[in-house]
């Protein structure tokens, strides 16, 4: 046998084709693009599961998008009767989603069984509109019969609309009474009203843009999401509709509004997904998948695009850039549009973090541009380095190949760095009624918050409805990285390690990445929704080992 020798990430340029074969790594990709198209995890010596034993040529499949039909847009019009009741009395859009196993092509020419909303990976896009409630009936069965089918998931689920401002019972919490067991369904009631409306103080500045929905079942979120239970839920309101009508942003779901869901996967020789529930530090794949395709290509026009990045991985983080050095114009962070565009040369994504960006391919007709991930990460614990100075490898891994065609017959977006987007309503220090500290730490090989283990029947914070608080999120150390997700409300980062946060993170976030030893001070309000919610690490294996606490919004 050939033992895998330790290989530093920088060594790979010196590996011969034969070396790569010995290592069981794909060389077709290397040949096609002149460099190794595999992440550090597969190269790092010693630990981790065996590399994916399937070789493929990257960039032979087109990126699936709503615009080209590769990702479907779910149609409203389901006719079931529901118990969801909305204060506005408005007639909701009703959607029906079956969760089921299906076989799809992720690696070119290879069929892989996934768990899919409507059997699709990524799940179908649901488009929300502020002012019109949605009811989504998620059915944990492949069809509407009572007959068991091999396409049934056979495991419980819970669906979280990530970034949404929804009633506790529709939040998709990982709690015993809220799970959808096999053969059951649940109606999720999404009011789609401005935050604060139920408190008589609506703030349209908190209306979201880029929500996503994903599984959140207790203990098995990691495997369920890994198998495919995630999709996008872009939402518009009058302001964003106005930006679209003015030609500043492209229509939602059009050819120029394109999600980029970044995920990593690992495969068995037969094409099935490999997942190891014993990787408690966080499971890493070695095949990079964007919108459900391994290293796709995307034919673009020489014009501006809106890309909605989502890190949908279990434990992998990304530091992305464009190979030609063009910057991103970031217009949104997590669920919300920014007040104004911010230019970024590269963007770091913890798990669940999103960034809306404008990329301008103008003047690049006939050229090829790669989206590259230059972050070095060989363990679920996190990448090397720290948040301000993560370990990078250049040029890194090519995630998407953009092939730039002719210019823009449809006209171009008129967005510039000076375009006003969505105003932000800052939370004032004078509104803060209480400060709480939450330290995410490790004790006896298990996760705790403030020295306590998770208990879904115990609330660890009871903020009062219609008040604001100052929460201190602390990484308890040990070299771990933790993206901390707070349900229900946006949080506004006031300081990061005692200093002002970068501008792009200083408005509204729903997930804040804490590198080793980091501390974030955030302000957040608690509006409209009395009941249970949670805050947790979005490294899904940490989350499944219950790195989480429950908190309740209580009536004043």
């Amino acid at each position: 046998m050939h033992r895998r020798r330790p290989v530093s990430p920088l060594d790979h340029a010196h590996l011969t084709r034969r070396d790569l074969l010995k290592l069981g790594l794909g060389v077709a990709g290397a040949a096609a693009v002149g460099e190794l198209a595999l992440p550090g995890a597969a190269l790092a010596g010693g630990g981790g599961p065996p590399p994916t034993p399937i070789r493929f040529t990257p960039f032979t499949r087109e990126l699936p998008t709503p615009g080209n039909g590769g990702i479907s847009i779910l149609k409203a019009g389901a006719t079931f009767t529901t118990d969801c009741a909305f204060a506005s009395g408005t007639v909701p859009n009703k959607y029906l989603v079956h969760m089921k196993r299906a076989r799809v092509e992720i690696i070119p020419g290879v069929q892989t069984e996934i768990f899919g909303y409507e059997g699709q990976y990524p799940g179908p896009t649901i488009v929300g509109h502020i002012g019109t409630p949605d009811v989504v009936r998620f059915v944990n069965k492949s069809d509407d019969s009572t007959t068991p089918s091999p396409d049934d998931l056979g495991v419980e689920t819970s669906i979280h609309q990530h970034g949404g401002h929804n009633p506790s019972t529709s939040d998709g919490l990982p709690m015993a009474d809220l799970l959808i067991f096999p053969g059951k369904f649940k109606d999720y009631c999404y009011p789609n009203e401005p935050t604060g409306a139920a408190d008589g103080d609506p703030d349209p500045n908190d209306n979201p843009s880029t929500l996503w929905y994903h599984d959140h079942a207790t203990d098995i979120t990691g495997e369920n999401v890994y198998r495919g239970l995630a999709g996008l839920y872009p939402t518009t309101d009058a302001l964003e509709d106005g930006l679209i009508a003015a030609g500043t942003l492209p229509p939602v779901g059009s050819a120029f509004d394109v999600p980029l869901v970044l995920q990593d996967r690992r495969f068995n020789a037969d094409g099935s997904l490999f997942y190891n529930p014993f990787e408690h530090d966080g499971f890493l794949g070695d095949v990079f998948v964007v919108n459900g395709k391994a290293q796709p290509a995307f034919h673009v026009q020489a014009r501006k695009y809106r890309f909605r990045f989502l890190n949908g991985s279990n434990a992998r983080m990304y530091l992305v850039r464009l190979s030609n050095g063009r910057p991103f114009l970031q217009i949104g962070a997590d669920s919300w549009l920014l007040p104004f565009p911010i230019q970024r040369d590269r963007i770091l994504f913890g798990m669940a973090e999103r960034a809306d960006v404008i990329v301008d391919f103008g003047g690049l007709q006939g050229q090829v541009v790669f989206l590259e991930n230059i972050l070095v990460q060989d363990s679920g614990r996190g990448p090397g380095g720290d948040l301000n100075n993560p370990e990078v490898r250049v040029p890194g891994t090519q995630l998407v190949k953009f092939i730039v065609g002719p210019g823009a017959p449809d006209g171009d977006l008129n967005i510039t760095r000076d375009t006003a987007l969505r105003p932000n309503t800052p939370i004032g220090r004078n509104e803060i009624v209480r400060t709480r500290t939450f330290e995410f730490n490790r004790s006896q090989g298990a996760w705790q918050v403030n020295g306590q283990f998770y208990d879904e029947n115990r609330s660890d914070a009871d903020p009062k409805r219609a008040t604001a608080e100052h929460w201190i999120l602390k990484n308890g150390g040990g070299g771990w990285w933790h993206p901390i997700h707070i349900h229900l409300e946006a949080h506004q980062v006031q300081s990061f390690n005692g200093r002002p946060p970068p501008l792009y993170n200083s408005f509204k976030k729903d997930t804040t990445l804490l590198g080793p030893g980091d501390q974030a001070d955030v302000f957040l309000r608690f509006r409209d929704r009395p009941g249970r919610f949670v805050t947790h690490c979005h490294n899904l294996e940490h989350e499944d080992d219950r790195m989480m606490f429950r908190w309740d919004v209580v009536e004043s």
Binding site: F181, G183, S272, G445, F453, N457, G478
Partner: protein, 266 residues
């Protein structure tokens, strides 16, 4: 006992009744081991973080392990068995271990195959978090009633195999009132270490990893019939460990059943 505690006991009892009434349960695994797989299907897998991978399908080498071999004994290869974990074919560690009654058992073949199990690591002289963990797991056993030992078992692997003789483990079990269904296991240190690495109960910090007084208090919940595995801290509420275990077994715990009404679903 608090009112909430009593309510939970009631809820768990209700769950059993409802589950028995309307959920088709798979047959539980045989009570005393399964037929051993032929030797040809045993082999070695990459054992975990610290060791180099070995190709699947390689035959085991060396003599059968014996209990009490010195820690310096040079490993001649971990015995494994074919299993499916989370839908993927895996070589599950299957070394010969010794239980509190002095019986030789194959870890996977005799104790995991076809069963719903809880697995943790401890040692009889442990004074850190172990007493609390043991108290919690005893509470889990009480909540499970006579289903413990029949439908669910608890496997505790000793992190101090040189001192944890069958007699010591027996004393520990009887001192804590551990019922049938709780199996303590000792054996060759490298075999137990191989299982620990396989299930990921390791720390990347070698000093922490080697310090058994700071070993993990996670408990694995596994259903070998479906290949579903997850883990929970032993120090969460016992009721919540039971709830997670029932779901691992493919059952619907009380709260969910009460919330969602009677089956059938539609």
């Amino acid at each position: 006992m608090s009112r909430r505690h009593l309510a939970w006991l009631g809820a768990v009892a209700l769950a059993f009744a409802l589950v028995a009434a309307c959920v088709r349960r798979e047959t539980a695994g045989p009570a005393t081991g399964s037929p051993a797989v032929p030797l040809e299907s045993r082999g070695t897998e990459y054992p975990g973080a610290q060791a180099a991978p070995a190709p699947a399908g390689q035959s085991p080498s060396g003599p059968h392990p014996r209990q009490g071999a010195p820690a310096s004994h040079i490993s001649t290869g971990l015995e494994t068995a074919e299993a499916r974990v989370a839908g993927s074919p895996r070589r599950f560690p299957n070394p010969e271990l010794v239980d509190q009654d002095g019986q030789s058992v194959r870890f996977y073949d005799d104790l995991v195959r076809g069963r719903v199990v809880m697995v943790n690591f401890s040692y009889t002289q442990c004074t850190g978090a172990c007493p609390r963990a043991t108290a919690q797991l005893m509470a889990v056993q009480r909540l499970l009633g006579d289903r413990f030992g029949r439908d669910f078992t608890l496997l505790t692997l000793s992190l101090d195999p040189e001192h944890d003789t069958p007699a010591a483990m027996r004393r520990y079990l009887s001192a804590h009132g551990g019922g049938p269904g709780w199996t303590w296991l000792t054996g060759r240190r490298e075999d137990i270490e191989a299982i620990r690495r396989f299930v990921g109960f390791t720390d990347r910090d070698p000093q922490l990893d080697a310090d058994r007084t700071r070993h993990t208090t996670l408990v694995l919940l596994g259903n070998d019939r479906t290949g579903r595995w997850s883990s929970v801290p032993a120090l969460i509420k016992p009721e919540q460990i039971v709830e997670a275990l029932l779901r691992t077994a493919g059952e619907r715990p009380a709260a969910a059943v009460a919330m969602q009404g009677a089956c059938p679903p539609f």
